[in-house]
């Protein structure tokens, strides 16, 4: 009985992590679209910083920057 209860509780909590509805629908992104929700305060400064990181550390990335680390791009 105790096992069943534990399994049930696990399922209930686990259902919240279900992949069916975890994404915010595109039409529900009004508050996420606000400029205040952006982590980047100054886009130009951020681009420069990312370029510097990409140039100095070729393994750093994931921000859409180009170049292989030579600093020439």
């Amino acid at each position: 009985m105790k096992t069943v209860l534990i399994v049930l509780i696990a399922i209930i909590f686990g259902a919240g992590c279900s992949t069916f509805r975890k994404r915010v629908a595109p039409f529900q992104r009004e508050f996420l679209a606000k400029s205040g929700m952006n982590f980047i305060e100054n886009p130009e400064e951020e681009t420069g910083m990312q370029h510097m990181f990409n140039a100095r550390e070729g393994s750093v990335g994931g921000f859409g920057g180009a170049g292989g680390g030579c600093g020439c791009n």
Binding site: V4, V7, A15, F20, R21, A25, P26, E30
Partner: protein, 162 residues
Amino acid sequence: MCRYFLILCLFVPMTSWAGAKLKVDEKFPEYNLKELGSEKKSTKAQTKGKVVIVDFWASWCEPCKKEIPALNKIFKKYKAKGLLVVGINVDEAENTAKDFLKDHKVDFLRLYDVGKKLADQCALATMPSSFVLDRTGTIKFIHAGYHDGDPAKFEAEIKMLF
């Protein structure tokens, strides 16, 4: 083990309540929405016999701002031939949409989806999303998002349906 699996099966449907994604050749869902800035209601039945572009837009959606002037032009050009453009706003607050309309000209029918019920029912995958319906209210073309070549595509599709 089998018992636990059955219990699991009971919970899985609880997590899936979104509307089904609309497809070409399906009927567009019936709606009864209020017009933006008025209490007047507008239904899908009123569009019967017309070629319709249903466009879901929002004031915070940047591609929508590009799409609206294009739809204005298409509507102006083809309304005499029986085209109806229905713009459905999905802003959280109606006043946000009204403020948007002060700075942006929207010539076509403007409806407000209270609680985003229709958007949810249509399971929109992008903003904006547009559906081109034939005279019977059947979806013939679907546009996900807005791209530079879309106005020409809209025109070609409309001409096909006239």
